[in-house]
Amino acid sequence: MMKLMNIVRKDVRILLSDKKMLAILILMPIILMTILGSGLSSSFQSGTDFEQFNIGIVREYDVLSPQEALESISLVEGIDTQDIDFNIDEVIFDEVLKSEDIEKLFVSSEYLSRDSALEALENGEISSVVIFPESFLKDTYINMLTPFKQKIKIEIIVDPNQNIKSQIVIAVFSGFENYLNHMITAKSLFTETVIKSGMGYEALENLDKVYEAFEDKFESDINISYSNFEAKKMVNSMEYYSIAMLSMFILFTGGQGGRMMLEEKNQYTYQRMSVSGISKWQIFFGKFITVLIIGIVQVGIMIAYTSIVLKVNWGNLINVVVITICALLAVAGMGGMISAITLKTGNFKVANLMENFIFQIMAFLGGSFVPVEMLPNIFSKISYFTINGLALKAYLLNMQGYSILEYRSLLGILLGITALFISIGIAIMNQEKRWKNAEHYTPADA
């Protein structure tokens, strides 16, 4: 045990002495978080293909023509309703929602009741529900055609896990506000913005701001209220990228396990340890623990930085610690496995392959570059096979205020991955006869 501690202390020292590696493990993610989060990185995100999604519409009002609508409220004379050939219901359903531009974004299907729509939302069939209230049509006509003003409420219920999609839906429907108040073209400014932006992530960020700006500009009579499903917090891009970068960069810390192991072998310290009576298990678990410790330092710094400087609220801190430990165990398990493979193969190939290829793929699949919800559905399933994807989801859910019970399965998978990787590592180390590790090099003789 004392020897193991000694090895770990030495390994940590060695990693800390490598300034370049420290920069990659700690400085780089911090910089990326800041840049991506502030939406400055246009080249990184723009042009991402966007997957069309489904939303549900509920009409709680009776469909009436303007004449009927106005008649039904027996309006004061003076308004010639005969001249009006303008049907707000048609505009919304046939022009706007069926427009090509909107359909690039999402397809709306109508649900007969609020409950059936919410059920579909819960099942993940749709990512938002837009509810037009009973008085919507009537009130709109009143607002449009009479001096009276009625408060109109369009209700939007979103899935908090579908952050970006929610923002789109909110942005588009808030466009109606503008439309209904100012009678500009059916294509709202918002939709245009969304389309023109090529669906870059930062454009979506901007939408949010535009939306806010509009709210200020036009004193709204139509109040679009949005809440999300279960009233959870929405995550902004700064928060998203803080989580995404953190979950990606801990992978690289895992990769260090392999690197250190091969260095030990190449600089003959592995052999020297062997002859001094240190078992290969002490060396193996030394690497595991080292990765764990470096990971804790790394995550600690990142969370501190994002909380203090970027004002990211990570949610319940105890849960953050639990998620971090589960994720780092998986990462360290992977590090141990890579180091066992590296020792066996005797070269950096595996470690390099992991770093240059597999980590990138994992980072992508796990949603560290682009939120998986923006990708085809299959990716969202694949992300469950990546350490960073699991960690990312868990951090996100915690940030949104879910209780740990709701994502315990993610943590369970992470612990399962840990067990799997360690077992593979142990199996490989077990085959490895110590005296075969000691490669001989003919000295560079004088």
Partner: protein
């Protein structure tokens, strides 16, 4: 003196290379035992088996009559090993390296600090202890590489070519250190392909070539093998196979080794120059210079193998 280590019919091959091909020797308590041989003779492979890094294919190594092949714990804590390749952490300081390796042998606290102080005096790097090892000179790294092996006061110190590639000053320092340690009672196994080092240091020597031990004894005993023969080094204007053939027939010439523009003639009696000059009279060959070497381990190696020890 008791035999601390007994090496019995030890074998190890890499594929079809018989790196160590059935060797036997004993190391006595308190002596400096030399293993002399050219590059690739198998010295490091022997050392690796004694230090329990590799298992032999067959044969045994007995330490205090217990097989370390069966249980390597018998020897590990009594053994200090200075590997041929520098085995240190380059990005850590000398002090951090010494601390790490010391703790590996169970040293701690004040005892560890004292040992480190003592060892750094012996190897003469006290002033540079706090510097990173990758900022050390080659000689300093070599010395630290030795220092690491001394921390736990080993009974046996195995040094595998500890002076390779360093300046004469560091080299002398190391040789003196080895002598001193031995005087204090440490048993030392020293491998080298420099016969001067082995002659200077070792009580007894095994000469190794091609995986086999070809002679064992004290330096004097070994030199006696060649009896009164000595080496005559003759430099010629040109050296060709024809020349070698012409000289081979000469009386008293036991072997001829080509060494660049020179031939090394191992001869029994003096007066060879006259015989050579007579023989070459009228041919295109003539002697440019001549040198006579007293018999030494080099001569012994040449005599036994027909090859020069160093290439």
């Amino acid at each position: 003196m008791t035999n601390l280590l007994k090496i019995r019919n030890l074998r190890k091959s890499y594929g079809n290379i018989n790196a160590v091909d059935g060797i036997d020797f004993d190391v006595r308590e308190g002596e400096i035992f030399g293993l002399l041989g050219p590059n690739g003779a198998g010295k490091s492979t022997v050392i690796s088996m004694i230090s329990t890094l590799f298992k032999p294919d067959s044969g045994d190594v007995l330490y205090n009559d217990k097989s370390i092949v069966e249980n390597n714990r018998f020897i590990q804590s009594d053994l200090g090993i200075v590997p041929q390749d520098i085995a240190l952490y380059p990005t850590l300081s000398g002090l951090q390296n010494l601390k790490f390796w010391g703790r590996n042998y169970g040293l701690k606290g004040r005892e560890l600090d004292e040992k480190i102080l003592g060892v750094s005096k012996i190897i003469g790097i006290e002033e540079r202890l706090k510097d990173r090892v990758d900022k050390y000179s080659g000689g300093m790294k070599r010395r630290l590489n030795i220092g690491v092996a001394l921390l736990h006061d080993p009974k046996i110190l195995i040094m595998d070519e500890p002076t390779v590639g360093i300046d004469p000053q560091s080299r002398n320092h190391i040789l003196e250190t080895v002598k001193d340690l031995n005087k204090k009672g440490m048993t030392i196994i020293y491998t080298s392909h420099y016969m001067e080092e082995v002659e200077f240091l070792c009580d007894r020597v095994s000469i190794m070539d091609d995986g086999k031990i070809i002679a064992t004894g004290t330096v004097d005993e070994l030199i006696e093998i060649v009896g009164s023969t000595f080496n005559v080094v003759l430099e010629f204007n040109i050296v060709e196979e024809e020349l070698v053939q012409m000289l081979k027939g000469l009386e008293n010439v036991q072997s001829i080794t080509i060494d660049g523009d020179s031939l090394i003639l191992n001869v029994k009696e003096n007066g060879i120059l006259k015989a050579v000059v007579d023989k070459l009279n009228g041919s295109k060959y003539h002697v440019v210079s001549m040198d006579v070497e007293k018999p030494n381990l080099e001569t012994v190696f040449l005599y036994l193998t027909g090859k020069a020890l160093r290439d």
